[in-house]
């Protein structure tokens, strides 16, 4: 299955992936409008910054996902390998935040933390392919098949 991978030798820590992610998930077609009207979403990708090293992390779409197994509400499910969240079912208990070994479940502060949210590989917005990879300025983030299932 195609996944998002980040090459930390290439990642510049510009955080534009976060910007593009928030925009892609905002439902707006214009980035200025998304951010200026507050409709931008919480980025599902997060840059980690270290001493000369940066990399982006987001949901790895594990084959054996602890977040899905642990979800008390049945709000997380796997659909064609993509771990999806049903925001109507999520009650914001954060068991998935507790479970995810990558720290990739994002608390949606845009709705006051009422639910969590996460990367769904842009399968449910209009981006077509993951916005982080499509817009990475240094091709550090790629969306590709690497033989994992």
């Amino acid at each position: 299955m195609k996944r998002v991978y980040v090459n930390e030798d290439r990642c510049l820590g510009c955080h534009l992936c976060e910007t593009y992610c928030a925009f892609a998930n905002s439902g707006e077609t214009d980035m200025v409008k998304a951010f200026k009207t507050g409709k931008d979403a919480v980025p599902r990708i997060r840059i980690e910054e270290g001493d000369g090293i940066n990399f982006a992390v987001q949901c790895r779409h594990c084959a054996d996902p602890l977040c899905v197994k642990g979800c008390i509400a049945g709000a997380l499910s796997v659909n064609n390998g993509v771990i999806e969240i049903n925001h109507d079912k999520c009650v914001g208990c954060y068991t998935c935040v507790l479970s995810c070994p990558y720290g990739c479940i994002v608390i949606d502060y845009k709705n006051g933390g009422r639910t969590v949210t996460k990367c769904e590989l842009c399968t449910r917005n209009n981006a077509g392919e993951p916005a982080c990879a499509a817009n990475c300025i240094n091709r550090a983030i790629v969306f590709e098949e690497r033989g994992e299932d």
Binding site: R3, Y5, V6, E8, E48, E49, G50, I53, F55, V57, R60, H61, C62, A63, D64, P65, L66, C67, K69, G70, I72, A73, G74, D88, K89, V91, G92, C93, Y94, T95, C96, V97, L98, S99, C100, P101, Y102, G103, C104, I105, I107, G112, G113, R146, E148, D149
Partner: protein
């Protein structure tokens, strides 16, 4: 092959999914004394406060049983198991034969003997959907409520009832709230937070005697109420395992495949069982939904003939009260690292070059799973930049090799 599962909650669903991974054709029968489609027990408080509809409480989609070819016997109570004849005996006298049986019966409320309890007209447990439906019928704007038990269940009930403007008093025999998951500092922070919502606490006390609408406490105070929530504790439902001759010691005892000790072809999973906690290195009851699912899942795989072990259980909780969230895991044993900033609290416990447990509260909860994985994967602290990790959970603090393994190579297995 005929699989029979008694119970219809997380462990049972985990088992169905586990069985179906390896056996698409065998018959699966679910027997449950509740009449509902599988629903999430922990969501009952959210239902009561109107945060989730009954439909959205479904733990799996409406089509789950059909999709997985599961026969359900809902509203049917199993009373015993004849392990010699490989049969489950039902309350109505009926029998269900099995090749492999899973006992996933969960737990029941524990109500200690209290003088005059029978005089109390309106008293409720807070475990099942029917419990909250009954509360929903009873509660009125401004109802006076006595909640007995300042644990997870009692306080979740309080949070839900606050939605109705209930006038609540929470009592507990312990001297602090949530003693099972919080240390005393964190208990204090949380109690003050909940108090600020107008909820009264009386600790280190219990009911001396009840009248129909009041209770006299051992501390001499009398509390008036319209109804009582009984949330003292829970006990595993072990009767079926005992009737089958399985090994029971407070909880049902199983091996690492979730097979019940002392009998064959019977498995158990969920809140009715004991688990081996890797952080305290002891057998204990871990009544937690994620644990139940995973035990059930492992049981299901073994029932279908795929030998699988469950060996990394430990306590973990994610819960919030009135917007203040807590994430905890493991055992609170060893050297502690503490950060306190108002309601934001962090405590990490390390011992023998490993993270053993943590308590996170408020804005310290983000990315908690990275800490959890350190416990689960027994990450040696000298392999990581723990000084950085202490402050912020991050993958940067792991070695480059481990990062690559996590992010680029070894996709896939939280386990």
């Amino acid at each position: 092959m005929k699989y029979v599962i008694i119970g219809n909650s997380a462990a049972a669903i985990g088992a169905v999914q586990g069985i179906r991974e390896y056996d698409k054709d065998g018959n699966i029968v679910i027997i449950s004394d509740e009449k509902y489609h599988t629903y999430s027990r922990p969501l009952i408080s959210y239902y009561l406060k109107g945060a989730v509809s009954e439909d959205n409480m479904k733990y799996r989609p409406e089509s789950f049983y059909a999709d997985n070819n599961v026969e359900t016997m809902l509203g049917v109570k199993a009373v015993s198991v004849d392990s010699a004849a490989k049969k489950v005996i039902l309350e109505d006298g009926g029998e269900v034969a099995y090749d492999k049986l899973l006992i996933a019966t969960g737990s029941k409320p524990f109500v200690p003997p209290m003088e005059g309890l029978d005089k109390v007209e309106k008293k409720f447990s807070f475990m099942k959907l029917d419990d909250v439906k009954a509360v929903e019928q009873t509660v009125k704007q401004g109802s006076k409520v006595l909640i007995i038990g300042a644990g997870l269940i009692g306080l979740k009930a309080a949070e839900a009832l606050e939605h109705y403007g209930a006038d609540m008093t929470v009592i507990d025999l312990a001297d602090r709230i949530l003693p099972s998951i919080l240390d005393s500092e964190a208990s204090e922070i949380m109690m003050n937070h909940i108090k600020s919502k107008g909820i009264k606490f009386m600790l280190s006390t219990s009911v001396k005697s009840f009248e129909a609408h009041s209770a006299e406490l051992t501390n001499g105070v009398t509390v008036d109420f319209d109804f009582v929530i009984l949330a003292v504790g829970v006990r595993p439902n072990t009767e079926l395992a005992e009737s089958a001759g399985g090994s029971v010691n407070r909880g049902i005892e199983t091996d690492k495949t979730q097979a019940v000790k002392n009998v064959s072809d019977i498995y158990a999973a969920g809140d009715c069982t004991k688990s081996y906690d890797i952080t305290s290195e002891s057998e204990r009851i871990l009544a937690l939904l994620p644990n139940a699912f995973m035990q059930g899942n492992v049981a299901g795989k073994n029932m279908a003939g795929k030998e699988t072990y469950y060996f990394n259980a430990f306590p973990m909780n994610a819960i919030g009260f009135f917007g203040l969230h807590i994430i905890t895991a493991g055992s609170y044993d060893g050297e502690a690292y503490t950060e306190i900033n108002g309601k934001n609290y962090k405590k990490l416990f390390t011992k023998d070059n490993a993270l053993k447990g943590f308590i996170l509260m408020g804005n310290k909860i983000e990315r908690a799973g990275i800490y959890t994985s350190m416990i689960r994967e027994h990450i040696a602290l000298d392999e990581v930049d723990f000084e950085a990790l202490k402050k912020n959970p991050m993958l940067m603090a792991f070695s480059r090799e481990r990062r690559n393994e996590k992010l680029a190579g070894g996709v896939g297995n939280g386990n």
